[in-house]
Symmetry: none
Subunit: 532 residues, 2 copies
Amino acid sequence: MTDRTDVLIYDTTLRDGTQGEKINFSAEEKVRIAQRLDEMGFHYIEGGWPGSNPKDMRFFELGKHIPFKNARLTAFGSTRRPNIKVENCANIQTLLAAETPAVTIFGKSWDLHVTDILTIPLEENLAMIHESIAYLKANGKEVIYDAEHFFDGYKKNRFYALQTIETAWKAGADFIVLCDTNGGTIPHELTVIVEYVRSFLPDAPLGIHVHNDGDLAVANSIAAVSAGATMVQGTINGYGERCGNADLIPIIANLQLKMNRWCLPDNSIRQLTNLSYYISDVANIPPQNSRPFVGRSAFTHKGGVHVSAILKNPAAYEHIRPELVGNEQRVLVSDLSGKSNIEYKARELGIDLGTEDAISTLIVQKIKIMEDEGYQFDAADGSLSLLIKKITGEFKEPFVLECFHVINAKTKNNPSLSQATIKIVVGNEEELTAAEGNGPVNALDNALRKALVKFYPQISEVHLVDFKVRTLEGADGTAAKVRVLLDSKDNEDVWSTIGVSTNVIEASWHALVDSIQYKLCKDKINKHHVGE
Amino acid sequence: MTDRTDVLIYDTTLRDGTQGEKINFSAEEKVRIAQRLDEMGFHYIEGGWPGSNPKDMRFFELGKHIPFKNARLTAFGSTRRPNIKVENCANIQTLLAAETPAVTIFGKSWDLHVTDILTIPLEENLAMIHESIAYLKANGKEVIYDAEHFFDGYKKNRFYALQTIETAWKAGADFIVLCDTNGGTIPHELTVIVEYVRSFLPDAPLGIHVHNDGDLAVANSIAAVSAGATMVQGTINGYGERCGNADLIPIIANLQLKMNRWCLPDNSIRQLTNLSYYISDVANIPPQNSRPFVGRSAFTHKGGVHVSAILKNPAAYEHIRPELVGNEQRVLVSDLSGKSNIEYKARELGIDLGTEDAISTLIVQKIKIMEDEGYQFDAADGSLSLLIKKITGEFKEPFVLECFHVINAKTKNNPSLSQATIKIVVGNEEELTAAEGNGPVNALDNALRKALVKFYPQISEVHLVDFKVRTLEGADGTAAKVRVLLDSKDNEDVWSTIGVSTNVIEASWHALVDSIQYKLCKDKINKHHVGE
């Protein structure tokens, strides 16, 4: 059952997704995303346009060493340039040099683009399509042909648009992908056109690639599948140029959970929420709460009528069970749900809250106050565990801060210099020290470690693996609150800590201290350290 | 032509929209929104649920004095409570007390809700529907009947669902509105059901009210119109519970501009972009750039291929002319873009690059190097314009930095204190000053302004409206690079600037300086300032 695949999922987050405003991935980030999609069973991953920029070229170099388990990596490019031989076309040669099993090339379907933009005869465009595909096939590639602007072309000059895809099919393309490049097609028009193509090229596997300019990309994608397409191209979270590409997450969820068209293994469907957050984290685009299926508000109930109804029967106001896509029900203004979460969390962290209800209530209250200030404990397990231990009395401070000073100095156009001094107390001993860094937070981090390491040598095992700063909602400019998230690791574990303040150094300090305290707590050393 | 109306637009931003997380309007804000919608020719405005809270009650008090030109105001509520007489139902009486020309009541269509949630016999629900509508009609109201959960009800027990709306129609309802309350219906299912209802109640005017849980609300709304509905309910920007209500903006634009179904006067369609910003302003929800039709990115082009094409013919990559909905074309510059983007941008910024190709090439090279270091010019118009002016020689430094020091001090558990000193030179004059702030960047910002304002008083017009910090490639912990993005505004414009460094203060400094320089450049003051 889980092996069944009705629709092939083709992800272009790494290529078309990066056309979106403010979306940028490094080659290394692209590798991590590709591996994640591969693990989840995505069928095709379009890695980039190797001919267009050095970063994509580098990704394909790295890509040669990724052991894909499920996905086929594909390199994207255009048909050969006009009026040259295909073997002399640098773009086509770069596609081969990417050494991917599959190659995706796009060609023009709309006569306007051929005559007015490329300014070449309509016949030359057909030759470009034919020769490019035939050449790539002769070089052993699986070839996916993206018929750019197919729907607009069909509406303006149906005969020519059909001629272009017939040419591609006869040249040996493995898939004919119909693109709504401008994103303005209405579902009922699209359905009629896909059905026509289905009968026009009855043996060609069809794909669909649409944009969201009419807010109809998900509807158009599933309409195309109903009309016979067996491949859907899109991006995670719908990232992409203008209003974005079709969002693969609701497409997969609708197809598999509502329309009984299988795309991914069951287990992968349950990771869709995680995947959405993961990609928005890497892209550093705040996740959209109202995102269908996977948003934080997607199964959140506010109105009293709705809340009492879902307590009787969740189906009353939920279109699917949230856990099917890895999401969860939330009820706003409810201490009950809060407490059971805390008890669940404490159990998970191995903390015994006892049978007393009062402690859970206290923790819930504290968390609510702090979340109101901008803390976000679902992203900071380490800080949450410390908070619970502080309230239950299981935690003892491993050190006390006397004071710190961080100085950042800049002269003319030289880079800034950052230094920090710090004075801490451990037991009866004081330690005063100083350190430099390549920024004020790094200097403070270095000074804190330098001061502590003689008391707690195991601190040298702690490495900071990620440091994220985000400004919180607010029109206060440089006076706005920031949230700092820190990922730390030692030889065994990874943990996340958090700090919130209008002052980035202060926020970082809290996250740093939590990270060190978590480490010491974890090693149970703070109970036996020198001087106590 | 502009008097023609095929589809009545029913706005429920003020009622269902406020069920959305973080959406709250005061009664006065509701009045302003209602007036704006009325001016644009919306047909119905649902003002609130007077029975549910005092704020809505107050709105209807105020509403009695609004001289509506086009819209009919409607009050929302449920059918009478079970097992009481309609004239004794407080909820129904509050609806009358709201003194609106129209009243909207919702009733249950899904047998599950009747038997499991309300726990009453199916017949009693029919009686509640009949008596409530008949009573409101007898009191002279136009009655809009919202058949809650109609599609889910139809799928589970078609006979009963149809019986409920037949009851409503026979009781005298003026509109039968089919609701996809849980938002999970697929367009092709919905089409079949609406068509069936159309033939079942051939004389009843039908409406549609859907939610966006499957990312299909816009598609479902226009599908319902194709299947015979003549009223569409929704909210501006799709605000609403969970994943939101159907967004009226793309619905109106698709119906009127693509499907030739008239909703609003031509002139109102051109105000849709403004309306979207206006509502997000009042709701204090940041506008979503990728929003179809009206978002800031909706007609924004990034890729070089696309840009060179739209310069030849905008239809090449735009589904409609942006000015039809009051939006505009934008071109971004990034490492994906070529020379044509730069030339477009320069023209837009009023910079003459001359006929020399060399300067565009130089700018593109510089941008590619800086983007490789982490700069991102598509998000920083202001910095880009300065960069171009620096390369073309049009820019003169309005001031020179001698040095700055930023000190951040913390003692025990007290909050950090931040102070900055700065020395700048303008012409032949030096200025040394100091300032505090609620964080190091804010202190530096304050010091810089304090130093400059005596030379450039117009700096006091500049306000920072957004400050974003993100860590780039975070594997280096606190030593990682950060990117700072700053949005500034004066009385006329908004501009964005950027800085990148491993040091957050240094990165912020660059973004701050660019912001100030942009302002001075824009006002053309830097050429004539004191001392030159």
